[in-house]
């Protein structure tokens, strides 16, 4: 057992699967000798060789397209896109091919590839390095979208993503890559995909979030506790397919819901959560659902990025607003 960060947990999971499964390859720009721009693949090429941890030419379309080809021929490529903002050229291959190869061929072929990317803002990065684009992927059937928010969940969910027989977009919240250390046992035990994780039990309001916003949301729950408000915190983790049952069960108990995400509000995954609650949980609601999100603007350059990101204060205001309804 070792106390490791989220990014170290990613490395640990990659190493575990490279060791366990000879069809797994890590594939991307600077993942080899350099160990990845965030060090997520540090030491892996030295340990497993350059035929397992493969530096590619600088071409995102090529990386995604070849991953589809490799996966369709029996391999399990784990692609690293250097930043989420550089994933857009990959959309064609992920959406038109990876996500529907099984469907199109009536099960004759499949695409068990993972498309990893550091994701989200808050690290003072250059332009196009700070998007929260999970809704882009979540909208397309046939591909899972998974976002860990702790070292243990990064380890367990990445193992599950690599072993999953279908394609997974795995978005890693770079702002909390090194925020906390956690004991993670390298026992090869995966965590389940397609389920939410209840991080904190509460009875007055349900706070639903994912990714780096788990940090501010837990801090808000702490602050609410001091005000005598008991907040339940749910980490959605797999934003598609989404586990509405766990969220509904919580809101049935609390009657109030605040959804927190860094991505823009319009057509964000929060809208899907709110719609699901409106559809099946409206009789349990004691107050309107509130969303605390990034604005429907372009992510500002780094001097302005924290003005964009939802703050603890905004979460608290939204939670308190729901409490104003008896």
């Amino acid at each position: 057992m070792a106390e490791i960060t989220l990014v170290e947990a990613v490395t640990l999971a990659l190493a575990h699967e490279l060791e366990a499964d000879p069809t797994v390859v890590v594939f991307g720009e600077d993942v080899g000798v350099n160990g990845g721009v965030f060090r997520a693949t540090a030491g892996l090429q030295k340990r497993f060789g350059d035929e397992r941890v493969i530096d590619t030419p600088l071409a995102e379309v090529m990386i995604a397209g070849m991953a589809v080809g490799m996966a369709a021929q029996g391999m399990r490529p784990v692609v690293e896109a250097q930043f989420e903002g550089f994933m857009y050229p990959m959309v064609d291959h992920i959406v038109n091919h990876a996500a529907r190869l099984r469907h199109r061929t009536r099960g004759r072929m499949s695409c068990p590839a993972v498309f990893r990317a550091p994701w989200g803002g808050g690290i003072h990065a250059p332009e196009h390095h700070s998007d929260s684009n999970e809704a882009t992927w979540a909208h397309f059937p046939g591909v899972r979208t998974v976002i860990p928010s702790s070292p243990a969940r990064a380890y367990g969910l990445l193992l599950a993503a690599i072993r999953d027989p279908d394609p997974v977009v795995f978005l890693e919240p770079k702002r909390i890559y090194r925020w906390q250390r956690e004991d993670v046992v390298d026992n090869g035990e995966e965590l389940p995909l397609d389920v939410c994780f209840v991080l904190r039990d509460g009875s007055d309001v349900t706070l639903v979030t994912w990714g780096a916003m788990v940090k501010e949301t837990l801090e808000a729950a702490e602050a609410l506790d001091k005000e005598g408000i008991s907040a339940e915190v749910i980490d959605v983790a797999t934003v598609a397919p989404i586990d509405m049952a766990t969220i509904l069960e919580s809101v049935e108990k609390t009657g109030r819901c605040v959804i927190v995400h860094e991505a823009p509000k319009h057509c964000g995954v929060g809208a899907e959560v709110a719609a699901g609650l409106a559809d099946e949980g409206i009789w349990h609601l004691k107050a309107p659902i509130k969303r605390v999100t990034g604005y429907d603007t372009v992510m500002p350059l780094y001097r302005g990025e924290m003005n964009y990101m939802p703050s603890v204060e905004r979460i608290l205001d939204a939670a308190r607003a729901t409490l104003e309804f008896a």
């Binding site: 397209g65 369709a72 490529p77 190869l101 099984r102 469907h103 099960g107």
Partner: protein, 366 residues
């Protein structure tokens, strides 16, 4: 002082001219030119493809098939590609390479099912590892490159072959596949079937280079041009480049010169953008006539055999059409089949949608 640090040439191959005569020009003639048994076999398949193609267009015109992409005029190119490959090799087609696919075991009824709006057509009877038809243009080049890398990493002597059009050769996917093939020395063959038209945009507007084959030279690939209406030359080149790929000597770009004698698809009307005189001239170079002339001149083929072959082909096509109509008509996919292969196991959140779909009667699409 400027020095030349790189220069290149592109060879063009032709052994059988449009009149069906061997072009000797002092060059060694491939053994295939004297292998009448194999030439007859290839001619039979090319004829089968043409008879099938004509029927498929007719089915579309009479409302029995959806939009269909004809392969009229491409028969030699496609049959050369398919017949040069081994079963364990991997084919990543675009969407009209029926000659290659039929050689590899894809059924005519499956081709009809695909264009007839039923995904089961993509569940080929041919090699299970071949990629399905690929409509988004040139993306298949990278899937083939990925397959080639998989074979290389696993030390399997297999080759991946992909086809792209002259239009598709303008796309980044094609160019990135060349680059990848260069970087990893992949067992990959990229065939540009240059039929001169990307729907309505002619070859001259794709770019001004003398050949499209020379795009491969930027990646240091073997890059050649061949008369794609000459089955002898097309097979000769395919045999060479596939052998080179299998032996670890690297990837190739083959530009096969041909002409799209049909509309782009049945949804297109080429009369809007090209002259009939150009099409008439192209008909004089088409692939079946020249091979037939070559075989007839030597006494290996005659009108009686031709009539018999056409009748056999028509019978096989008719059987395929009946199989197609029976499967899509009498055994259509159930309403909930759209959920069945989205994921290996249906996620919980799709169960309710599947139940919803099951509650409503099928709405026929035909």
């Amino acid at each position: 002082m400027a020095a030349t640090i790189a220069s290149f040439k592109v060879d063009h191959f032709q052994f059988l001219n449009p009149e069906g005569q061997l072009v000797t020009d002092g060059q060694p003639i491939p053994a295939l030119a004297r292998d009448i048994k194999q030439l007859l076999s290839l001619y039979r398949l090319m004829t089968q493809v043409r008879v099938f193609d004509k029927k498929a267009v007719a089915l579309q015109r009479t409302g029995k098939l959806g939009t269909y992409a004809s392969c009229l005029g491409h028969e030699a190119a496609h049959v050369a590609i398919g017949s040069a490959m081994r079963e364990e090799d991997c084919f990543a087609p675009m969407y009209r390479e029926y000659g290659a696919q039929m050689y590899r075991g894809v059924k005519m009824s499956e081709i009809l099912m695909y264009w007839g709006g039923d995904e089961r057509g993509n569940n080929f009877s041919g090699p299970k590892h071949d990629f399905p038809w690929c409509v988004p243009i040139a993306t298949q080049c990278l899937h083939a490159a990925g397959a080639a890398l998989a074979y290389k990493l696993h030390h399997q002597p297999r080759v991946a072959v992909s086809v792209v059009g002259d239009g598709g050769s303008s796309k980044g996917d094609f160019l990135e596949a060349i680059n990848a093939a260069s970087a990893w020395k992949l067992p990959l063959v990229l065939v540009i079937v240059n039929n001169q038209w990307a729907i309505s945009v002619p070859r001259s507007k794709q770019n001004t280079a003398a050949t499209l084959a020379q795009k491969g030279i930027a990646g240091d690939l073997h890059s050649v041009q061949v008369d794609g209406n000459d089955i002898i030359a097309a097979r000769y080149v395919m045999d060479k480049v596939i052998a080179a790929a299998r032996e670890g000597k690297g990837a190739s770009v083959v530009e096969m010169m041909t002409y799209r004698l049909s509309d782009h698809t049945t949804a297109d009307d080429a009369r809007r953008y090209r002259d009939q005189a150009e099409v008439d001239a192209a008909w004089k170079k088409e692939p079946l006539t020249r091979l037939r002339s070559y075989l007839m001149d030597q006494g290996f083929w005659d009108e009686v055999k031709e009539e018999e072959l056409l009748a056999e082909c028509a019978d096989r096509v008719q059987a395929a059409v009946e199989d197609y109509q029976q499967r899509v008509g009498d055994q259509p996919q159930a309403v909930d089949e759209m959920f069945r292969y989205m994921y290996k196991d249906l996620p919980h959140n799709l169960e309710a949608q599947r139940e919803l779909a099951r509650r409503y009667p099928p709405r026929g699409g035909h």
